[in-house]
């Protein structure tokens, strides 16, 4: 498993635990992380205070716990409307005001939850040390904000100032106290009264705001040699690092493999359009590969699956337990208990020792589901083709054993970099915002009417590398869902296997990055509302930004029982949202 994959899996695990703790502590059922940001339902929540956005990559678990606990307290102990009404306009004041309100709610952590208190303290220590380490305290303005945070937290929570930073803030504190001392003194007393506290916090925020602006201006004057404007600009940049509450998106890994990392949700998305559908194709995958080659590929796949030793009957039973419901199906006779079977009474008279005179209603498990597996056949999936094909094949087989109809579908493009669609656009004089520009290719490896046995060679076509090009996820999900909707089964599930966000160079170049992302999100949301359960299997990548239910899989080793256990949990998707 590469480092990026390991990080993605850890991030998902840690976020799931923190979100669970958050939901329990706040008593709200619809809080969850999506693309690393906390959401309530479909709405993203703001970052409440500077220290509440630790990065799953750089910070330890205790820190993440502390941030989650802090957010839970903020959600339960603070009136958001009152806070918004009192909040000052300017960024610096706002920063101080937000931080003070957060310290207030943290001081209200109930004594029955000592673990929460410890996590909050730990998070604060980590945050403070990270500020120092990252050089945020090196400018005057930065040191001032840092000192305000330290002093106010110590005052409100009645805890001593962090020992390690005592020396650092000594001088600044001396200069600061005369300006804010009065308001500061009453903070702890008013911590249970948000309105009164807000008035004091506002006074402190104003005083600090003036000091910080002076400090930035001073930085310009002092460094006359460097050029006043440049120094001031530098000071402002340093300040911006303080005030920007959103952490930089670190999803893109250093090794380049995770480059198609989930992008944060866009604020406003352009409407989705398609420039031309003239070159779009829906193909049967088996017809794209020579039959002789298919046989060869199938033999390779079978050998790999046999070597893996996945317990198929067990997997089928687990799927059946998950998807099937008992249904009454006639009567079972010849039982020793139950309802008397009148037709057998004659036997009792003939042989009084006979006990098998009863009958009972029989219940048969029946899975009224159709499951579609949609495989991303974009170029970056090529290295994962083998494990993905094994998973898909085993799943299709096990689902069939469980009595579930399955479809195996794929999506790619007919050409690289736009192909004929791009050329058509160029010929048309490159109109602005053309929409999707590529030859979309949808592949059917197995439809629901074909039994697995007959679809075996076709599934092996997943190993054929030259099918893999680019991918337009949104349209593919829409297409797969439409196919599922046409089936008679009453319940529908779509499993999307992919390794990144939609990627199509020509479309991105002509429309910007947001078009495909936004469309995928829109499609998933719409189809889920229609009652199709959509689950995403991320191949070493967190897909929570697009899908409500996703799981990062580790495919560095061939898929074994552990991988299927994770997929089962994903299908179960119990968490109500």
């Amino acid at each position: 498993m590469t480092d990026a994959q390991r990080r993605a899996r850890r991030q998902q695990r840690v976020e799931a635990l923190c979100a669970a703790a958050l939901r329990a502590l706040a008593g709200e059922t619809d809080l969850h992380f999506r693309g690393r940001r906390l959401h309530r339902g479909e709405r993203r929540l703001p970052v409440f205070a500077p220290h509440l956005s630790p990065s799953p990559d750089d910070d330890d678990f205790g820190s993440l716990r502390g941030a989650a606990d802090g957010i839970a307290l903020r959600l339960t102990r603070s009136d958001a409307t009152l806070h918004a009404r009192c909040a000052p306009e300017s960024a610096i004041e706002r920063w101080v005001f937000d931080a003070l309100e957060q310290f207030r709610v943290e001081s209200l952590a109930p004594a029955t939850l000592p673990g929460v208190v410890r996590n909050l303290r730990l998070r604060h220590v980590r945050w403070a040390l990270a500020c120092e380490r990252d050089g945020l305290t090196e400018t005057d303005a930065g040191l001032l904000l840092y000192t305000v945070a330290q002093v106010c937290r110590a005052q409100i929570l009645a805890e001593p100032v962090l020992e390690q930073t005592d020396g650092l803030i000594e001088a600044t504190r001396g200069a600061l106290m005369p300006r804010i001392g009065h308001a500061l003194a009453g903070l702890r007393r008013d911590r249970t009264d948000q309105a009164a506290f807000a008035a004091r916090a506002l006074a402190i925020a104003r005083a600090v705001g003036d000091l910080v602006r002076n400090a930035v201006a001073d930085a310009g004057e002092r460094n006359a040699t460097e050029g006043e404007a440049a120094a001031e600009r530098r000071a402002r940049r340093a300040l911006a690092a303080w005030l920007d509450p959103d952490p930089p998106d670190t999803a893109a890994g250093a090794d380049g493999l995770a480059a198609p990392g989930s992008r944060p949700p866009p604020t406003d998305a352009p409407p989705y359009r398609v420039f031309t559908r003239a070159f779009d194709r829906e193909l049967r995958a088996a017809e794209q590969v020579r039959p002789a080659e298919l046989v060869e590929l199938r033999a390779r796949l079978d050998a790999r699956i046999a070597a893996q030793g996945v317990n198929l009957p067990r997997l089928a039973r687990a799927l059946q337990a998950l998807l099937a419901t008992p249904e009454r199906d006639g009567w079972e006779g010849g039982l020793e208990a139950g309802v008397i079977d009148g037709r057998r009474l004659a036997r009792l008279i003939a042989s009084p020792a006979e006990r098998r005179l009863f009958r009972a209603e029989r219940a048969e498990p029946r899975a009224d589901w159709v499951v579609g597996v949609l495989v991303d056949c974009s170029g970056s999936m090529k290295p994962h083709a083998e494990p993905v094909a094994m998973i898909v094949d085993l799943l299709a087989r096990a689902l069939e054993m469980a009595g579930v109809a399955t479809e195996v579908l794929g999506f790619t493009t007919g050409a690289w970099h736009g192909g004929r669609a791009l050329r058509a656009w160029q010929r048309a004089g490159r109109p602005a915002a053309p929409g999707r520009l590529n030859e979309v290719q949808h592949l059917v490896f197995k439809d629901a009417d074909t039994p697995w046995r007959r679809a075996r060679p076709a599934i092996a076509a997943l190993l054929r590398g030259d099918l893999f090009r680019e991918g337009v996820d949104g349209e593919a999900v829409d297409w797969a869902c439409a196919r599922l909707t046409d089936r008679p089964q009453s319940r529908r599930l779509l499993l999307v296997v992919c390794d990144g966000c939609p990627r199509d160079t020509a479309t991105v170049l002509a429309n910007g990055e947001l078009l495909l992302d936004a469309h995928l999100r829109e499609v998933v949301l719409r189809r889920e509302r229609e009652g199709i359960a959509i689950r995403a299997i991320g191949v070493g990548l967190d897909l929570s930004a697009y899908y409500d239910f996703s799981q990062v899989l580790d495919l560095s080793e061939p898929p074994g029982n552990r991988v299927f256990a994770e997929i089962l949990r994903l299908i179960e998707g119990r968490r109500a949202r």
Binding site: R13, A24, T29, T112, P114, G115, Q164, R575
Partner: protein, 338 residues
Amino acid sequence: MTLPLPAMPASDRPERLLGVRETFGIDADLHVPAFAERSEHVPEVDPAYRFNRDVTLALLAGFRSDRRVLIQGLHGTGKSSHVEQVAARLNWPCVRVNLDGHVSRLDLVGRDAVVLREGRQVTEFQEGIVPWALQRPVALVFDEYDAGRPDVMFVIQRVLERDGRFTLLDQNRVLSPHPSFRLFATANTVGLGNLNGLYHGAQRLNHAQIDRWNIVAALDFLPADEEVAIVQARVPRLADDAGRALAAAMVAVADLTRKGFAAGDLSTLMSPRTVITWAENVEIFRDPALAFRLAFLNKCDPAERPVVAEYFQRVFDRELAESHALGDPPAAGAVPRR
């Protein structure tokens, strides 16, 4: 088959009035009729029992004004013992019948049975529990009312009405209820079946019947203070201040599991009964974490245990073996502990 139920005592009417405030510790100016003597079917009084105000008032209305009361609540909230303890304090004879999917009409109404009389076998009608109780000053409690088959439960349809007579078809007899006959039931669901997956075997009930219950009281989880008091009352070793803090922490964990259940993070939750078991296990094992494991954690799905470990850490500031924190690789840029 004979129901082994002896005759009733001489007094078959409640003879005195008890003040609710003194008897149940509930702030209400009410008086309820009570029997003067304890008889065989009066349950034992549990002096440590804490009465929930709303449910107790509903039950007392049932006893005082002859109302049919159905108590609904999650498991382990003490529904059945609530009825029993109210009856115990009123000296009211109380008979509990556990319903299940196999209780049939014959069990409830009665049947013809072969008995020995003067050395000869004769067939004789034996009353079932419903006609038996109906003619006596008895509080009949149907436990797990929603486990009874809805088609069978129609036999109590008439009895659910006040003064509703009961016709014994087998004997061409019409029974009038005894003035001190009372009917109660407890159930996990409100007759809508197993909606949350917790109550396997709960039936969907006929709403024409649910409608006939005069009072439906919900006994869900109690306020934390009351639950702490119950735990302390049940486990005497927790009676001091340190014990109170421990009990409060246990109730806090239970509360987190209940919220986690509501959010779908857990498929099990801690009932007050589990908390009491946990407290009792602490007495045995002297270690809250081990006792917690034995009382609750081992009942959880292994995949959910890390979440429970998170809850436990918040309250006890200790890591369970399942905690993610113990196996978490140190993050790349984590600030080292100084």
